[in-house]
Symmetry: C2
Amino acid sequence: MFETIAIVGATGAVGRIIRQLLEEREFPYRNIRFLASKRSAGTKITFKGEEHVVEEMTPEIFSGIDLAIGSTPDETAKEFCPWAVERGCVVVDESGYWRMDPNVPLVVPEVNPEALENHRGLISSPNCSTTQMVVAMKPLHEFGRIRRVVVSTYQATSGAGVKGQEDLKAGARAFLAGEDYQYQAFKHPIAFNLVPQIGSPKYQGYTSEEMKMVHETHKIFGDDTIRVCPTCIRVPVDNCHSESILVETEKKITVAQARELFAATPGIKVVDDLDSGKYPMPAQCDGDDAVFVGRIREDLSSDNGLAFWCVSDNLRKGAATNAVQIAELLVKSQAAV
Amino acid sequence: MFETIAIVGATGAVGRIIRQLLEEREFPYRNIRFLASKRSAGTKITFKGEEHVVEEMTPEIFSGIDLAIGSTPDETAKEFCPWAVERGCVVVDESGYWRMDPNVPLVVPEVNPEALENHRGLISSPNCSTTQMVVAMKPLHEFGRIRRVVVSTYQATSGAGVKGQEDLKAGARAFLAGEDYQYQAFKHPIAFNLVPQIGSPKYQGYTSEEMKMVHETHKIFGDDTIRVCPTCIRVPVDNCHSESILVETEKKITVAQARELFAATPGIKVVDDLDSGKYPMPAQCDGDDAVFVGRIREDLSSDNGLAFWCVSDNLRKGAATNAVQIAELLVKSQAAV
């Protein structure tokens, strides 16, 4: 058990869910502290029935903290993670800043828990669109060795934070009333529209969000020969990312085998009955920690391909849940020592 | 010129646009008539400033019509097309019913105009999701021979007709007000949600909409060795279908070549400048007859692959415009005789 734990970025969209999860999952600790930027410091939040005051994050504050779970913008994580690690505080970081650092393990507990061993005080949790995909890939990869992935995403506005969610609702209200609306989080209108750009231009016409799906997948599986072609699209959905995924494997996987493999994997829920109109939909996966798969079928365009549809709550498994699961593994490995 | 022309299904979502297009494009005729089911017969519509009464479609009525452009449900087309053809009326049919009939050419004027030759009085126009895809495929196929297509669609509610569009708006209004709404056109809520089923279960876990994209593509290119893996998803967008498309070709096509090939193709508009945040989005393509392509990039997962994003107004190029273009070709071929 860690004596004193902290949530860094406690007032954000993901921070709020980390708080919920620590309650729900009875995460062990003696003391808990809530940190945020200067702007949010002083905010009062209720946790397990008690009122707490959010503290400003400073280098010194981490001297009194043993484990920090961080969900902050990249620039904040760049600063606070070294402050914490230097003072002996273990950090599970949700931001994008440290993920590709060779000294930092990038962990999805269902996929590569072994990467946690010999960590140097800082562990990264992957990007939301990567996490749900690698959870679904894992049993297929173990069985048939994945050589190639073609993925098109349908990403919710909550991926752009609370402001993204507010934008969608306010934009939709304005549109329906025939009024103009000035978007805050998006550079193009998202209500009743699609925006085929998430992140900034990064590599040969691919965006930063798309390249995260390539590089993080390689790092998590420890195999950069898996070829990944991602297309990331923002859709007018409040929460839960969806992905149309096609994998090609060395060894053929039938639909029946895939369904069994998925069903036997902790963290995956199979909802796959087209005849009865049953498949995962974002509005129904909201608030769930699982990665949902459905529409499982053999690829009509290759001999060893499998196509499926994958939905997961990007604020939960895509962010908060994965970070808390990493923290739980750290607690377990302490107990084992 | 055809002496007397008719629009069958004149009061529907696509019928309304066919009317607009005949005006806009100054389609030649001496007399025009508007037909619909018994339910809509008697409706008054204004066309070129004159009031017309919609007539009920009967077998006999086609004796006085030389060219009919039909946009009706499949079951209606099954009935009326033989009535018309038997009476010497040429039919351009938008429905799905006749498309795969070996005696009926399936035509996209930019792709296979030659299929019109020797028609037997009935010509089909493809499904909306197929049409925009094959227009984009055509220049790539001619240059590099496409062997495989992986496509994930983002299809607007207008594909389910006027009721689909009303459902989205009413459903969104109710959701924002915290009220329930009973959907008419969709079996699952579509506002702020995604539904990974369009059409009915058809073949090995694929839906009828998905299999249309396979079979119609084969018929239009006259090549059933092109392997197609489609995933069709309904999204909360009013109008314009979007598609994330990956093609693999025999001969490699670079991004620069693809951009040139697309730009040189009538009917295609290239909007492709990620650095400036420019790419096709459904809200901006609404009301345009073109097929828009953007986000053109080399496939990171194969050696001869090309990925791009394709948006088109499904009521226009996906339906009305394509049918009117076929009718225009028929007028031209008459003139040539």
